[in-house]
């Protein structure tokens, strides 16, 4: 797929789920071993084009996520490169032990794709929100975890996942009209964080849908006299430890994720910082302790304090305390 302003705009309009459908076609055209599985969510996974064009390379296992991961593992053991897709919450939790067993323990080359992480599913409510997937899957050995920031990054992540001979979990987030982070082509490397904005006082380490909001928050902070860098940690596992250690030069580290404060990116960063002798304090921004009533994507972000303004305010208040 050619990367130009028109395709970037198209990817943005589609949203990450739609982009995955295109990205997967892109990847699958060049390698016949790449196949797709769905737990009865093909139509809502952007995979209809692939299914229409390559019906013998697409398997709908029915509403049976555990079986999907096991079947994918068997196919992988036989030399295929299966992408097993479903909604993020179900991918991570319903088939959790299968992910541990087949991907973590047996190391089968399965790519698990979770759609609609965080609050993407809006009015569908808590059962369809994925707020603990990273926390749970991060603890499983041998699993690469990617959380792309925009449409182009989904394309890159899909290609990278297909190429690497390792089990991968790709966490897709946001809704249609996914904000554009990368206005032109760039180099994506699994495990290498990307500094999107330079800054001297604060380091905002973020991922997925929060990258756009972190950039907006950084702009607000600048107006307030606080210089914040924004680091896109698109690979949550393996974490770019070097990037975290570099961030220790700032006076404050903030992690922002569309995920529970417990166990996700924030915790991953904290695990690195905790044995560093020279390090600033870290605050972890993410979703809170209650499962709130359903609302649309924007409403849910606001309810959990994850709008650009709310993020900027929290950082500003903490920063003022830190430099006192």
């Amino acid at each position: 797929m050619e990367i130009n302003p028109i395709t970037i705009r198209t990817l943005s309009m589609l949203g990450q789920r739609g982009v995955f459908g295109l990205a997967f076609m892109d990847v699958a055209e060049t390698d016949r071993n790449i196949i797709a599985l769905s737990a009865d969510l093909c139509n809502t996974s952007g995979l209809d084009r692939f299914r229409t064009k390559y019906p013998d390379r697409f398997f709908n296992v029915g509403i049976a996520e555990q079986n999907m991961v096991g079947v994918a593992a068997g196919l992988a053991a036989a030399g295929y490169v299966p992408f097993a897709t479903t909604f993020a919450n179900f991918a991570a939790l319903r088939s959790c032990e299968q992910v541990r067993h087949f991907l973590g323990y047996m190391k089968e080359n399965v790519k698990l794709v979770g759609f609609g992480a965080g609050f993407s599913f809006g009015m569908f409510g808590t059962t369809h929100y994925a707020l603990e997937d990273v926390a749970v899957l991060r603890a499983i050995n041998n699993l690469v975890i990617l959380n792309p920031a925009d449409g182009l990054e989904v394309l890159k992540a899909t290609h990278a996942a297909a190429k690497i001979n390792a089990p991968v979990y790709i966490r897709l987030s946001g809704v249609m009209n996914n904000p554009i982070i990368y206005k032109s082509d760039y180099v994506f490397e699994i495990g290498k964080a990307i500094t999107l904005r330079e800054g001297m006082d604060v380091s905002i380490i973020t991922t997925g849908s929060m990258v756009d909001l972190a950039l907006k928050a950084a702009a607000l902070l600048e107006a307030d006299g606080v210089s914040a860098e924004v680091v896109n940690m698109h690979t949550i596992k393996p974490l770019d430890v070097y990037a975290v250690e570099k961030a220790c030069a700032k006076k404050l580290i903030v992690t922002v994720e569309e995920h529970s404060r417990i166990g996700g990116l924030g915790s991953a960063v904290a695990e690195v910082l905790t044995s560093n002798t020279r390090r600033p304090i870290q605050i972890i921004l993410g979703t809170g302790d209650e499962y709130l009533h359903a609302g649309d994507f924007q409403h849910m972000l606001e309810s959990h304090g994850l709008t650009a303004l709310q993020i900027a305010k929290k950082i500003s208040n903490t920063y003022k305390e830190v430099v006192k």
């Binding site: 555990q66 096991g70 068997g74 036989a78 067993h101 323990y105």
Partner: protein, 242 residues
């Protein structure tokens, strides 16, 4: 090793010796792949692999040594021809479906055998796979259920039973029932040509061949004293006509 400090899943292994013999005999003639879903029969698997010359006696003797390659519940080890990591019940069939599907995709001959325990079929995930295999007519897939009527806490009839044959049939499988201790009969069942996946409900006795173990819950996992070991050995030799 069954008299060793850690003991072993002796009785569950004894109930499937003939089943494994039949399956491995089949695989010496035609291409096949074996998945041990009933992971706690690892000892039986290794014994069969040794008998059929797939692993060495030296390897077999490292059973359950610390850090060894032959733990009680087998771990995937392609160098030792072990394809599947066993132990967590209810997942082997779905992996076997994937392997069978791959063979079908590539229009390759060969069968995929998977051994389950009857207690294991309590797990819902077994039925997700069973439905999938039946719906997709995975006729190169053969499941054998080691039907010994017992599970962890005792007799299945006191815990959880259901119409096994009916369940498999309703998922679209061809069902055979037989004496699970007669290798010849099992072998005949294995060669049956069907258009659907085949399940063999093999009626077995947990702890078969050792009088003090047969149908005794405590021998699900146990450790033999030297006396018990000698008694068991002589009973099994008699059973084999030695």
């Amino acid at each position: 090793m069954v008299a060793g400090p850690n003991g072993a899943h002796i009785a569950p292994s004894l109930s499937c010796v003939e089943i494994l013999t039949a399956i491995f005999a089949y695989m010496t003639e035609s291409y096949g792949l074996f998945v041990l879903s009933k992971g706690h029969a690892g000892l039986a698997l290794y014994a069969a692999m040794k008998e059929f010359g797939i692993i060495s006696a030296a390897d077999f003797d490292t059973f359950e040594t610390n850090g060894g390659e032959f733990p009680g519940q087998p771990s995937k080890n392609l160098a030792k021809h072990i394809e599947y990591s066993s132990g967590s019940l209810g997942m082997g069939l779905s992996y076997a479906c994937g392997r069978a599907l791959a063979l079908k995709q590539r229009s390759l001959n060969g069968k995929v055998f998977v051994l389950l325990g009857d207690g294991e079929t309590n797990e819902g995930s077994v039925w997700e796979s069973a439905m999938f295999a039946g719906f997709n007519h995975l006729k190169n897939l053969i499941a054998v259920v080691d039907f010994n009527g017992m599970q962890g806490d005792g007799f299945s009839k006191d815990i959880l039973t259901f119409d096994q044959a009916g369940m498999w049939r309703s998922c679209g499988w061809h069902v055979q029932e037989c004496d699970g201790h007669d290798s010849a009969v099992i072998s005949r069942c294995l060669t049956e040509q069907t258009d659907e996946p085949l399940v063999i409900l093999a009626r077995t006795v947990k702890g078969k061949g050792v009088s003090f173990m047969e149908n005794v819950r405590e021998w699900h996992h146990g450790r033999l004293t030297q006396n018990q070991y000698q008694t068991a050995l002589s009973e099994l030799e008699v059973g084999n006509g030695n």
